[in-house]
């Protein structure tokens, strides 16, 4: 279950496969981006962040890619596990701003 480029509100992925979640942002002044995971009834959980002077950053099983030219952000999850089922949000922030703006979430469902 991959979707490249296009933001989808839902994503169903087979356990063990890789997932790609996309996010488009509109503010060209944004210079800091965060991916959050939110489980039902819980607060958003920080996954990974990236600054605008980078185009790729890797964490444990996750990679964030930033394409400033087309204002696009993606989160790749390797070897998706059942515990990865959640809603994923991207958030953006300007350098001198104190507002973290969220994009539309993507609900990821992992099939056993």
């Amino acid at each position: 279950g991959e979707s490249v480029g296009l933001h989808l509100p839902t994503l169903s992925v087979q356990e063990g496969d890789n997932s790609i979640i996309n996010c488009a942002y509109s503010n060209s002044a944004s210079d800091y981006f965060i991916w959050y995971k939110q489980e039902s009834g819980k607060g958003p959980q920080f996954i990974i962040d990236i600054r605008s002077n980078m185009d790729k950053r890797q964490g444990q099983r996750v990679t964030v890619l930033l394409n400033k030219t087309v204002k696009h952000l993606s989160l790749q999850i390797a070897a998706t596990q059942p515990g990865d089922s959640a809603v994923y949000f991207c958030a953006e922030k300007e350098r001198d701003d104190y507002k973290l703006s969220f994009g539309a979430g993507t609900t990821v469902t992992v099939r056993a």
Partner: protein, 115 residues
Amino acid sequence: AAGVIQSPRHLIKEKRETATLKCYPIPRHDTVYWYQQGPGQDPQFLISFYEKMQSDKGSIPDRFSAQQFSDYHSELNMSSLELGDSALYFCASSLRDRGLNTEAFFGQGTRLTVV
């Protein structure tokens, strides 16, 4: 590690009543954010504070106010509650490190139900 603490976790109020939500940021964090999240919606920014001063304002109704105290905890005061105010309210905190943004961590939220 200490996280963002919000209280209460659940709150039930009647229409036209007042509610106060509290947020205790991660120690040494200098920025606090408040968000409102309706069912199936993405979090909507309400207001933020940096070093105890209001720093940015989003879609916060005039019936709501917030402040940050000397110990950095913050309170969101909501008056004349309406049914539409029922939502999850999240607080987040972050630290501006040498002028750069750093990760914002969220609390577990307060679920407000207005009846």
